[in-house]
């Protein structure tokens, strides 16, 4: 299974980015082969309100099953993610990626 994180950097120790639409990076963790791949989303960080759906579309292309983030996406982006059948877990905005991953495994994050 692939899991996506909204992050400010590209390492396990990087901080999470609490935002969805304007997140700086996505880190995609592939459980099967234990691989961590970054996707640079900074070009949309200066985008307008329409950033959400566009970012959601990008995430769809990266094909994760689960998204771990901070505040949770806005309504438009949420509806794209729903259609794309990506489960969203929120409340990890103040953690590092590693902490967020562990919190998710322990069932400590809230489902959006």
């Amino acid at each position: 299974m692939k899991i996506a994180f909204t992050t400010k950097g590209t390492e396990w120790d990087s901080m999470m980015d609490p935002r969805f639409g304007r997140t700086e990076f996505f880190l995609i963790y592939d459980e099967e082969n234990d691989e961590l791949k970054p996707h640079d989303n900074r070009s949309s960080s200066n985008d307008a309100h329409g950033a959400g759906p566009k970012t959601a579309q990008v995430l769809f292309g990266l094909d994760p099953k689960v998204l771990i983030t901070g505040n949770g996406p806005g309504g438009n982006a949420a509806s794209v993610l729903k259609k794309a059948r990506i489960d969203i877990y929120v409340g990890a905005g103040d953690m590092t990626v590693k902490e967020a991953w562990e919190a998710y495994k322990e069932g400590k994050l809230k489902k959006f």
Partner: protein
């Protein structure tokens, strides 16, 4: 690094004076971001030096090049915004009406229409009198305040805060409930709602809090001019309890707000009575809550 965003729904509640006072108290630990780009006022209190400025482009604007135009009229036919008219026999775009949808350029048979990037304003990084830096902007006249310039100001403030290892970003948020305020709220650690006890104040507070709730953000509230209408103040307090919003403080109706502003000062610099202490206490309370 924590990001504190101050918003108020509508203007006139003393939001900017309070935000600037917090910035002053935070001193060198705080990067300031003025996201009220449509009516930016914070610079009048914090005296930035406008050291670095840059134009900001967002959206598009159609421009017809007369040399390539055969005056076929197709562009005017498809434009839904009545932005293209014939002036002195030439098809011409009215920049104030053009929405930048790009439809006309797509269908022009002779490629006579160019989509120009639109200059919607200017943003600045300045040194301010608190010994820190401030990011601020000025939206151009008739520009579409889509929230992009607000996002830019916030992102620059964040970048600066990270580079210089600051503890806080304090954001003077945009008014209303549209895109600019959504952009101001994005990524906030804590939201300070500034309101006043009037029928419209309460009404706006409820509307803007809907947004805060949608983003799952923690919030606190300052009731300014609280003694103007005790009854509405009580209603606001009840609303805060109901929604579990931290009640930070009730400030009195005090013309000191205006006096300080007239001297280009924050309340912290100019006040001699209790108002200053109340704001100092509020700032401590906010810091305590978010750390």
């Amino acid at each position: 690094m924590k990001e504190i965003v101050v918003i108020s729904g509508k203007g006139g509640t003393g939001k900017t004076s309070i935000t600037a006072s917090f910035a002053f108290l935070g001193g060198a630990d705080v990067i300031v971001a003025d996201c009220d780009v449509d009516a930016a006022d914070m610079h009048l209190l914090l005296q930035p030096d406008f050291a670095r400025g840059e134009d900001f482009y967002s959206g598009e604007l159609a421009k017809i090049h007369p040399d390539n135009c055969t005056q076929c009229g197709k562009c005017a036919e498809v434009c839904r915004f009545e932005a293209i008219s014939v002036i002195d026999g030439m098809h011409t775009v009215d920049p104030l009406s053009c929405e930048g949808c790009g439809y006309c350029a797509r269908i022009c048979p002779t490629n006579a229409i160019e989509n120009l990037s639109m200059n919607v304003g200017k943003w600045y990084i300045s040194s301010i009198k608190t010994g820190s830096l401030m990011v601020h902007a000025r939206l151009g006249i008739g520009a579409d305040n889509s929230g992009k310039l607000v996002a830019k100001v916030k992102n620059e403030a964040k970048r600066l805060a990270e580079e210089t290892n600051k503890d806080y970003i304090i954001v003077d948020g945009s008014p209303g409930i549209g895109c600019p305020v959504v952009s101001s709220l994005s990524g906030a650690s804590f939201v300070v709602l500034v309101t006043e006890p009037s029928v419209s104040g309460l009404h706006d507070l409820k509307r803007v809090y809907e947004l805060v709730k949608k983003f799952n953000l923690k919030a606190g509230c300052i009731i300014n001019k609280s003694d103007i209408n005790e009854k509405v103040t009580q209603e606001i307090e009840a609303f805060l309890r109901e929604e579990n919003i931290l009640h930070i403080v009730n400030l009195p109706y005090d013309e000191q707000f205006t006096k300080a502003m007239t001297n280009g000062q924050t309340i912290i610099e100019s006040d001699t009575n209790g108002l200053k202490q109340m704001i100092v206490d509020s700032w401590s309370k906010i810091k305590l809550t978010i750390n």
